[in-house]
Symmetry: C2
Amino acid sequence: MSPKLQARYQARAKIIKALAHPTRLFIVDQIANKERCVCELTALIGADMSTVSKHLSILKDAGVVSDEKRGLMVYYRLRVPCILNLFGCIEGVLKSNAEAQLAGMR
Amino acid sequence: MSPKLQARYQARAKIIKALAHPTRLFIVDQIANKERCVCELTALIGADMSTVSKHLSILKDAGVVSDEKRGLMVYYRLRVPCILNLFGCIEGVLKSNAEAQLAGMR
DNA sequence: AAAGTAATTGGTTAAAATACCAAACAGGAA
DNA sequence: TTCCTGTTTGGTATTTTAACCAATTACTTT
């Protein structure tokens, strides 16, 4: 594989990797419709705030979310809505996997 | 977060994680239109065949690809075409990131 | 049966990701 | 200023991922 092509796939992988964690998928869902501050997300997730903050920075670094500071709070929102389309596809895979397993048991 | 919801996002993350590697994204592209055997993919990628085989097993375990053995060769194909839609979205993010960076430099 | 080819599996080592705690940084209020 | 609150950053220990080599399995051909 050429170095150029390699770099191309590496850039893509970085964005997908940013999504490849349960907590970060949850975050994307939560900020899909309305912005949320770190404190709200922390409460919803139930982990240390520093942990949540780091997840958010990974998403931000990948360009998936954007942030805005207002007063003490930092609000995050989804910058790329087309990500949500992915979820439908993923659900389809899960469903298909479940069916395949059932078929295999017979 | 409830255990049930947790499990839900974990299942989704597993599939996305399977895609979150440059080589595996390349594989998905390569088998999108026509099936390929491991030997073909190995030649295209330029890594050890055992490495490629392990990448394929990760994709297969996630339900993204399916395999079929014919003679000595094992042929892999994309089981879930909607994955390809994701790539368009990802390219959009990359483009958007590049523009944001340009804007930030001014 | 023996030899050869395609693929997978096991083992090891190196690199990356993740979580928490503690400490540092704002911004707002007293 | 000093205190309080929301957020980020640094440090560390643990777990996960990834690559290659060596060995094994499966099928074909001689």
